[in-house]
Symmetry: C2
Subunit: 466 residues, 2 copies
Amino acid sequence: MQYSELIPDDVEALQAIAGNSHVKVGDAIHDDYMRDELALDLYRPDAVVEPKTTEEVAAIMSYCSNRGIAVTTRGSGTGLCGGSVPLYGGIVLSTARMNRILDIDEKNLMAVVEPGVLLMEFQQAVEERGLFYPPDPGEKTATLGGNVSTNAGGMRAVRYGVTRDYVLGLEAVLADGTVMETGGKVVKNSSGYSLGHLLIGAEGTLAVITKITLKLLPKPERQVSLLVPFPSLEEGIRAVPEILAAKEVPTAIEFMQKEILDAAETYLGKAFPDSSAPSYLLLTFYGRNMVELEQVYDRVAHVCLDAGAVDVFIANTADRQESIWETRGAFLEALKAMSDLEEVDVVVPPTEVASFIAYTEELAAEYDVRILSFGHAGDGNLHVYILQDQLSKEEWQRRAEQIMEAVYRRARKLRGQVSGEHGIGYAKRPYLRASLGETQMQLMRGIKDTFDRKGILNPGKVWSSF
Amino acid sequence: MQYSELIPDDVEALQAIAGNSHVKVGDAIHDDYMRDELALDLYRPDAVVEPKTTEEVAAIMSYCSNRGIAVTTRGSGTGLCGGSVPLYGGIVLSTARMNRILDIDEKNLMAVVEPGVLLMEFQQAVEERGLFYPPDPGEKTATLGGNVSTNAGGMRAVRYGVTRDYVLGLEAVLADGTVMETGGKVVKNSSGYSLGHLLIGAEGTLAVITKITLKLLPKPERQVSLLVPFPSLEEGIRAVPEILAAKEVPTAIEFMQKEILDAAETYLGKAFPDSSAPSYLLLTFYGRNMVELEQVYDRVAHVCLDAGAVDVFIANTADRQESIWETRGAFLEALKAMSDLEEVDVVVPPTEVASFIAYTEELAAEYDVRILSFGHAGDGNLHVYILQDQLSKEEWQRRAEQIMEAVYRRARKLRGQVSGEHGIGYAKRPYLRASLGETQMQLMRGIKDTFDRKGILNPGKVWSSF
């Protein structure tokens, strides 16, 4: 693929659309626009453009389409697979200024937002009105546009599902500048192929999302967390299908091992309520009142004890819960502070998580590297980190590549998938291809051509092999 | 589009694949295979083929692709828009024999089924194990394959969502006979464009679905229904957003008017608990125990009374609930027993339902026809029926067409959609085109070409203009 490099005329044209101060070039472009949270290599865009309105996005796309300029849409840049990195230069289209919550509609339990609204701002705004937006990805400074584009999941997916389940409608600008609207303020929709569900998780390769209509729920009134120490990671994880089979579905079921807990304590400079056990499950339950919640967690506590738990700590005050979840929220940063990382965001059936973790431990021994895991035990979504530690970059990457191939091969065998919630970006392309096979890759390629014949939207991502 | 008519060699080849007794031709083809539940015109297929396995479906598709034979997949034929009608002859591929529940996985809260399993059989099988499949379309003899292909909704969508929200994985056979698998036993998935969500609601135009992995929930232990009479349909429907805003989301919120209730009583030969009021809301709540449920329905009962309800009848025994819901379930049959019908399955924001119904009443007066409505007030999905009564077929169809255009125009203005849950088939094609516009139709056309270059799968449906 060949894309046009920006010339001064292009910059002027883009400035005429978005305003002089909202088109950055040269040294005014911060390094942040050249990478995301995990990617190490830098890719420089020719310009960063920050439109404010759908009309400006449409004009930008129409211009770039005519000129053959690559366009990579970027929210907060908190991705972990390079999805928002401008591999082929051109412009980075930042949604940072499209950050208005347009409507919180209490009577329809819906909201309409621009893509640059931050997850944490939106959660707060709806909760102030007694409403609730269930998707809860770990990175609260991510934008909702980014969440939709990666179909972000998060902690509460066990019970409430993922971002996709809350998107009712999208406004989007196609590669040629046409504005389209799919879905709307409707809960049900059987009106032709679901173009909306195709844009969700497409990582900006099919269109630029400019408005999002989201479904809301009433805010659950009470919550309780259980911190459950186990004598081994395997015993903890083996308790999870027993919890699900007991017909009590918690809002969240996270697993964690002592090594990462210790790292998070060091990173935050705060002690965790308990860190004497080799492994923990962290469960949260939402409910109407404490009487109801007590019945539920009491039952689940017994399931855990029967499954080998050493103890059950109940966190029923806001403070105690916050301190536990703050530690959980710091895991990735704590790991990054220890070493460079390669990440695997694999998803398998919940019953297979324990054997999967055991397999990563075999691989760690075989390749003599540290592999640490945490994640969402209740929905089978693991975050597996391969640490560089004292290895040379080349040696580490060589081993990591072999480990990742083995890990994804195992996931495939278990009917799992390459990515549970982080997406493919450019970092996971070969594994996606190996997992899905050529037939599906060709279908994706055909869909891409249908939406973006010139291939200017986020080139080199998801299905692409170049 | 030109398709090959079946010749004796083709019939022999199909018999060699599916077995002699599973390929029907000529007079052995029942009229049912030429229409669905609402379509009046008959379209005759050259053959009806009933494969048993994915391998047989793959062989059939490979053969038909080579020969250019049209293939229309059919479940139980309970659709209302002609989706399973073989407009261009060729073969009807019936999924009736692919009717095995392959796996009910209590530890992962998932099930794997073949497409010909009936909704009612599946609901019963999972409930016997203390599990629950939330989607609840009115037509219980529909197949799950049909439910997936139309993204069927039903009564419980207010609280639990639609079929799409419970599909985790699909196995499907492409037009050329290639077998593909998308998703799996995974709750989260961000692994490339969601081909699965594209097949959901595609009404068999993109692939033949051969296996479905579904998400299950624990079965709610208790349920209560409220039957709430109102002095007018409008007052009843205006109460719905108040109920949602009160932060109590019922499992179902149906609205019904006296005229249809009376028809259903006559049709069933049974009396409804109360039919003195002009209009009713029917609400259901699911919960853990009666103490919890009482708090909830008590609060909602007061919201209804404040909104003008005449009374609130509480149905808290299985018998009473069944008798009410049996009547609700007979509405469509009762209407069909009175007159031929044209149906509109429009969906609008819940707050707009009341004004929408008022508009259909204006149209009824203007065009001097009976228009009756019932449906899912909680999710804004209305079923509006235009009755023929004593009009000539031509005159009725002339008026119905104008009314439908007006109705869909109004829906569009309210950010509604052409179909909430019945799909497009061939009956609703012009309205879909008018609603979505040429850009989206062209995108759908491009997707169709990507999946089915020869256009042999269910020709003439959804996006097609021919």
